[in-house]
Structure formats: structure tokens, C-alpha cells
């Protein structure tokens, strides 16, 4: 596997792991379910995501 492919794999993994890629999926989903409504901007999505995290605390282990 070439270096570029490795770099792409690492980038893909990090984006997935940190949840950065969630926005892309969110947009795709939004267009599917609400084709006429404008897609939220990354900023608006961040706010939604923060609100959700606020109400769903996830325990970190010992």
C-alpha cells in the first residue's frame, strides 16, 4: 500500500473516530428526509451536536 493510501486511511479513521465525518452523513440524511429545507451549516450542526451531548452524558471509564 502506498504512502498516500496510508495517509488517506489514517485521515479517514481519524475523521470517523472524532465524529468529524458525522456532519457529512447528517447532511446526506437531511437532504433525503427534508429535500426542500436548507441544510444546516457546520456551525448550526455543531450547536445541535453540543446540545445532544449536553443531554446524553457518556461515562468515561476508570
Amino acid at each position: 500500500m502506498s504512502a498516500r493510501r496510508w495517509a488517506r486511511a489514517v485521515r479517514w479513521y481519524l475523521r470517523e473516530l472524532t465524529g468529524e465525518a458525522e456532519y457529512d452523513r447528517f447532511c446526506e440524511r437531511h437532504r433525503r428526509h427534508h429535500p426542500l429545507a436548507p441544510v444546516p451549516t457546520p456551525r448550526e450542526y455543531e450547536t445541535l451536536r453540543a446540545r445532544h451531548r449536553e443531554e446524553h452524558p457518556q461515562s468515561r471509564c476508570c
Partner: protein, 722 residues
């Protein structure tokens, strides 16, 4: 629906019915025989090497070989025979997909998520303390425990929760066992979490006390996280990877900056006593848990994840490349005498209590029954995610044990025995260590502190400083030489403190929700998650509760870690007992009595361990072990007007009496709660066995999956094949 932007080459093939199994090919037979041989060589060297120093590589080999065999054979057995995951059945992630909570997630990504959620400071601290009994007993339990208990628990809980739309452990206990068992489980989970947070915070306090470098660099994580929060939320929304990389760079700078601070006039500002640090942490814990998550918790969580994976990988490379020599004894005298200074009590049960998380952690059951089951794409992946992630955690514990065992035993005891025993000077510590049967000269002790640029290493209990010294030895052997030792020491301290602060913040929030939920039954408004006074009150109560244990730990004349760590271990293992009880009950109820031993044997073991430990902590006549014997000894001393060392004043004597009473009562309470859960479960199991028809379980009905399950992926990083 595929979730990755990168095309996948494949998902693991469905496990399939047992009849479809093929015989092993000659290649795979050869491969697994070699793996077994390598593991056996590792164990052989460990077992036969006596009276000479051996390389840590053998330990790594033994562990990895055993993990590979266990994963390939035992976890597959559990999947095929006991759980029978069915990849034609839609997972909750598929059925209930909402793009938020439920979302089919690539298994490799989910493994990373799950590992980041379960791995913390526990497996780093426990094995370091357990090194008091030598490296061999600890290694044996970390490896055997994870294979037969810890990883099994995580995998089965994950599977059961997945089959119940991601229900929590508490809900499953109520649904499958009954109301009494469910309520007892809920209270136990809450109480156990409080102890856990208090003890983990104590580890941070002991690591940072009188260390301006450490205190500065850990304090800097707060502005760094705030900066990251604003960057991520306001300036570059959603750029998590970029923000985390900036954060890691700033973090490294903060570690370097700590050495400048130590040399500067600001050093005094950052030289804090344990008590001051306790109040800083309590205040910080409260503020952090009521601030919006995006400001502090979320960014620190990203930092913590990056550091966790990065440092653990680095440590694995360091151990293999530096191949340090194990200087600790394989089995020390303290294993049989039970008179060790780090924690009191004999090998059975206290070694198992002390190692806790690295082999079996009840806390994982909360993670495995929370977010992870809602993200699984295919049922058969519970094996890789549940069993696999726990094997990784166990490997972290092995590395922590190696780091501790590479230290000179004299230094190890000078760092880990209670302050009351060691005194405050290098001379007194040297004498005390000699009294324990080990040698370290006052000069060597001063030199060791100087090498990592700390004022002192005497009585730096709690595991973190010991691990940091061990890690600095290993890292400096590979990267940077002895000039970098101080940097690596503080890097390790920062890395542990970062984990713990994230755990404390997240744990306080989870505790607050649980408390709001419980109190909401009594008075409605307090249960509302958006009502600010309710949030503040409940956060305050949770912080006050763990803050109490933190304060008593930091001021305990007998040494907080020595007193509280067994409480932490017992609490954690009792939680595992609850989780394994739920698993066993469901297996029996669903007509799998024949396989109930898979979780039943670890359950019997953990009950034997925790109840023996709890019994001894309550009823032992030895004041070093039994809390009430200790209480009686000091209470008699007060009556006679005597001050018994290591207490220095009558106030100290009263402190000991109060603390040992609280600790003893708490252990009794935990045991009572777990007894209720187990007794209730036993009734349900008997009823299930006698019933001619299977008792109803709460498994959600079968729905056919619409997601394809392509062929088994051959490459580990198949995502790269774009």
C-alpha cells in the same frame, strides 16, 4: 447502510451456524500452532527464570500469545455456541437509525470509540500497586482474568444490551431480575461511581502535590481545552481533527513550559499542598460539570483520546525496542505475608481487588450497555468490539505492570509506602525501605528525584508517579536519552491526569443525571434536565460526595491510597458481579442453562474474591486489614490518651476513627446491595429452570437486516483500498 466515506472492502462474514464450520486449513493450523508456541515460550521463560533478571519482552510475548489464542478460540466459542449472533438480524443501529444515537458504525471505528470509552487510569494504577506482590501473580491474573472474566463480561453485556435496543445495565437488571434487584443495582452503581471518582481524583492530587512542573502543565490543560472549545465551536466549526492536533501541540508545549515555570519565580505559585489541590479539584469539578460540554468536556475528551491512543502505542514500541529488564521479584514475600506497605492483605483476595480494571472491570458494563450497542452494524461484531477492546485494555495493564517492575524495588517502596512510614527525608525513607527488606541509599533516592526534576519522590503513592518514573526510563531509553527523562516523567503525569480529569467531569455529569432521575421520583422539578437550579444542586451534591472521599484520602494519616484503594477495587469488582449476574440470569432464562457457566464461573470467582475481601475488611482482627479492628485500636488509643503512629496528634486519631468507620460501613452497604441483586437473580433462575416454558425476556423481536454483510475482510485496514 454503509457509513464510511471510504469504501469498505468488507465486513466480517456472519459467524454462521456451527454446522457450516470448515476445518482449519493447514496454513491456519501452522499459524496458530506458532502463536501458541510463542506464548508458551514467553510463559516458560517467566516460570523458569529464578534469581536472575529477565527481559520484559517475555512478558509481552506471553500476554500477546495468550490474547491471540483466546480471541481466536474462546471468544469464537462464546459467539458460536453461547450467544449465537445472527447477522441476518437487524441491529438497533439499523432498525432505529436516527443519525444521532443510533447509527451503524464501521466496526474498526467503533472499536476505537469503545476502547477510548473503557480505557482510563484504572489499568494504569492497579497493576503498579499490585507489583508489590511481584510481577508474576499480577501478570497471571491480568491475562487469565481478562480471557475468562473481563472480556467475557464486556462481550456478553454488549450483546445483551444490543438485543435490547441499547438498554442500560440498571434497566436490564430491573427487567430481567426484578424490581428489588433493579433498585439495588441502581443505588450500587451510583455509590460505586462516587468512590471511583474520589479515588481517581486522589491519584491526581498525589501526583501533583509539591510539583510545580506537573501542576502547571495539568493546569494548562484547562485554557487549552477552552481554546479548543471556542475554536471548534465558533471559529472552525466541526474541524475536530485539526483542533485536536493543535491541542496536542499546545499540550506538549505546556509540558515543556512546566520546566521553565519550575525554574522561574512562578514556581511557588504552582507548588501546592495536597489539601489546596483537593479544594482546587473540587471547585474545578463543579465548574467543569455545569459548563456547557462544548467548552471544556468535549475538547478535553478529544485530547484525552488522542493522547491515550498515541501514548499507549508509544509505550508498546518503547517496551519492545528498549526491552527493559524486570528488577522486581517474580513473587515477593508480601504475596504470602499480606504485610505489604502499599496495600494490606494477602494475595487472595487483595491482589485481584487491586488490579481490578486491567483484568475485569464492572465499570465497562456501563459503557457496553450505553452508547456502543446502539452503533453496532452487525451482531457478530460484538466479538471484536466487546472481547477485542478488553484484550487491548488488559495489554495496557501489562505495560503498566512492566513499567513498575522495571524500577529498583527500593525505589518502588520509597515511592509507594505511606508517608507515615517513610518520613519526609531521604535518610528516613532509606531506613524505612531497609526495614521492609530492600535497599536504596539516601543519595540514590535524591538522584532519582533529580533525574525527573521533582523535589522528592518519597511517598508519592497512587501509582501515577511510579508509572511515570517507569515510563520515563523506558521512553528515555528509546527517545532522547537521559536528558529527556524529566520531560517523559511529566508527559506521563500529564497523560494520566488528563484521563482522570475527563473521567471526573464525565462521571460527575452521569452521576448528576442519575441523581436527578432518582430524586425526580420524589420531587418532580428536580428531575427536569434543563432546570438550572436542579442541575446545580445535583452537580453540587455529586461533587461534594466524591470530594468528601478525596479530602479524607488526602488527609488520612494512614495514607489515603492504602485505605481507599481496596474500597475502590471492591466497589468496581462488585459492579462486575452485578453485571455477570445479569448475564447469567439472561442465559438461564433464555434456555441456555448448559452454557451459563461461561458467565457463571467468573461470577462465582468475583463473588468469592469480593466477599472474602469485604468480609476481611469488616471482620478481620488485624487492624491493617479490618476497618473496624483499626477503628477499635485507635478509639482505644484515644480513650487511653495515647497517640498511635503514624498519627501525630489526637486529631489525627479521631480522623482515623471516622474514616475507618465510614469505609467499613460503605463496604458493608455495597455487599448488602450486591447480595440483594444476586439473591433476587437466584430466585428468577430457579423459577426459569423449573418452568416448563421459557420465561419471557425483554429481547426485541427479530427484524430482517437490509444491510449487506460482504465477505470477511482480509486486510486490517481495508478502508484504505479506495
Amino acid at each position: 447502510m454503509p457509513t464510511s466515506v471510504m469504501p469498505e472492502s468488507g465486513l466480517p462474514a456472519p459467524e454462521g451456524p456451527p454446522s457450516a464450520r470448515s476445518r482449519m486449513t493447514p496454513q491456519s493450523l501452522l499459524l496458530w500452532t506458532s502463536v501458541a508456541l510463542l506464548g508458551a515460550i514467553g510463559w516458560g521463560v517467566l516460570a523458569l527464570a529464578r534469581g536472575e533478571e529477565i527481559s520484559a519482552v517475555w512478558l509481552v510475548l506471553a500476554a500477546l500469545g495468550s490474547y491471540a489464542i483466546a480471541y481466536r478460540f474462546y471468544s469464537r466459542f462464546i459467539a458460536r455456541r453461547v450467544l449465537k449472533p445472527d447477522d441476518r438480524r437487524a441491529t438497533p443501529a439499523e432498525r432505529l437509525e436516527d443519525g444521532v444515537d443510533f447509527q451503524p458504525t464501521d466496526r474498526r471505528v467503533l472499536l476505537g470509540h469503545h476502547f477510548a470509552a473503557i480505557a482510563g487510569a484504572g489499568p494504569l494504577v492497579g497493576p503498579v500497586l499490585a507489583a508489590q506482590m511481584g510481577y508474576l501473580p499480577g501478570t497471571l491474573w491480568i491475562v487469565a482474568g481478562v480471557i475468562f472474566a473481563g472480556a467475557v463480561q464486556d462481550m456478553v453485556v454488549l450483546f445483551l444490551s444490543m438485543r435490547r435496543d441499547g438498554k442500560s445495565l440498571g434497566q436490564m437488571a430491573r427487567d430481567e431480575i426484578g424490581r428489588a434487584g433493579g433498585a439495588a443495582a441502581l443505588i450500587a452503581v451510583f455509590a460505586i461511581m462516587i468512590i471511583l471518582l474520589g479515588v481517581l481524583a486522589l491519584v491526581v492530587v498525589n501526583a501533583l502535590a509539591h510539583s510545580p512542573w506537573g501542576t502547571f502543565s495539568v493546569a494548562m490543560t484547562i485554557p487549552i481545552a477552552l481554546f479548543m472549545g471556542f475554536w471548534l465551536h465558533r471559529i472552525r466549526p466541526g474541524r475536530v481533527v485539526e483542533t485536536s492536533l493543535i491541542g496536542v501541540a499546545l499540550l506538549l508545549l505546556a509540558i515543556v513550559g512546566g520546566s521553565w515555570i519550575q525554574e522561574s519565580s512562578l514556581a511557588d505559585t504552582f507548588t501546592l499542598s495536597p489539601t489546596t489541590l483537593v479544594f482546587c479539584l473540587i471547585g474545578y469539578g463543579f465548574v467543569a460539570s455545569v459548563l456547557p460540554v462544548w467548552m471544556l468536556l468535549a475538547p478535553r475528551d478529544y485530547l484525552s483520546t488522542f493522547m491515550k491512543i498515541g501514548t499507549i502505542a508509544l509505550l508498546a514500541v518503547g517496551v519492545v525496542v528498549a526491552a527493559p529488564v524486570l528488577r522486581a521479584e517474580s513473587v515477593s514475600d508480601f504475596a504470602s505475608s499480606g504485610a505489604g506497605p502499599v496495600f494490606a492483605g494477602a494475595l487472595f483476595p487483595f491482589l485481584f481487588i487491586t488490579i481490578a480494571c486491567g483484568a475485569l472491570s464492572g465499570f465497562h458494563a456501563l459503557v457496553a450497555s450505553g452508547t456502543t450497542p446502539k452503533l453496532i452494524q452487525k451482531e457478530s461484531q460484538v466479538r471484536m468490539i466487546g472481547y477485542g477492546a478488553m484484550l487491548m485494555e488488559s495489554f495496557v495493564a501489562i505495560m503498566a505492570l512492566i513499567a513498575a517492575a522495571t524500577l529498583e524495588p527500593g525505589l518502588y517502596y520509597a515511592m509507594n509506602a505511606p508517608a507515615g512510614l517513610l518520613g519526609t527525608t531521604a535518610e528516613s525513607a532509606s531506613q524505612a525501605v531497609a526495614g521492609l527488606g530492600f535497599t536504596i541509599t539516601p543519595d540514590q533516592l535524591t538522584q532519582a528525584a533529580k533525574a525527573v526534576e521533582e523535589q522528592t519522590l518519597i511517598a508519592r503513592s497512587g501509582g501515577a508517579p511510579t508509572l511515570a518514573v517507569g515510563m520515563s526510563e523506558i521512553f528515555s531509553g528509546v527517545f532522547g536519552g537521559s536528558a529527556m527523562k524529566a520531560f517523559w516523567y511529566h508527559f506521563a503525569i500529564m497523560f494520566e491526569a488528563l484521563f482522570i480529569l475527563t473521567t471526573v467531569d464525565a462521571g460527575t455529569r452521569v452521576g448528576r443525571f442519575m441523581l436527578q432521575d432518582m430524586l425526580g421520583n420524589v420531587w418532580k422539578p428536580i428531575g427536569r434536565v434543563n432546570w438550572k437550579p436542579g442541575i446545580w444542586l445535583c452537580s453540587g451534591l455529586v461533587v461534594a460526595a466524591w470530594g468528601y472521599f478525596l479530602y479524607t484520602g488526602a488527609t488520612d494519616p494512614l495514607g489515603g491510597i492504602n485505605q481507599l484503594f481496596p474500597l475502590f477495587g471492591i466497589a468496581n469488582q462488585l459492579l462486575a458481579a452485578i453485571a455477570l449476574t445479569v448475564c447469567t440470569t439472561v442465559l438461564v432464562k433464555s434456555g441456555r442453562l448448559r452454557w451459563a457457566w461461561v458467565t457463571g464461573i467468573p461470577l462465582a470467582w468475583v463473588v468469592a474474591v469480593t466477599f472474602t475481601a469485604g468480609w476481611q475488611k469488616i471482620f478481620s482482627d488485624d487492624p491493617r486489614v479490618g476497618f473496624f479492628a483499626q477503628r477499635a485500636r485507635y478509639a482505644d488509643g484515644i480513650d487511653a490518651g495515647q497517640v498511635l503512629p503514624p498519627a501525630k496528634t489526637l486529631d489525627d486519631m479521631h480522623t482515623v476513627v471516622t474514616n475507618s468507620t465510614v469505609d467499613g460501613v460503605l463496604i458493608a452497604l455495597f455487599m448488602l446491595l450486591v447480595t440483594v441483586v444476586i439473591a433476587n437473580a437466584a430466585v428468577v433462575c430457579v423459577r426459569a429452570i423449573r418452568s416448563p416454558v421459557p420465561l419471557p425476556t425483554t429481547e426485541t423481536p427479530y427484524v430482517e437486516s437490509q444491510i449487506d454483510a460482504p465477505e470477511q475482510s482480509a486486510e486490517p485496514l481495508a478502508g484504505a483500498r479506495a
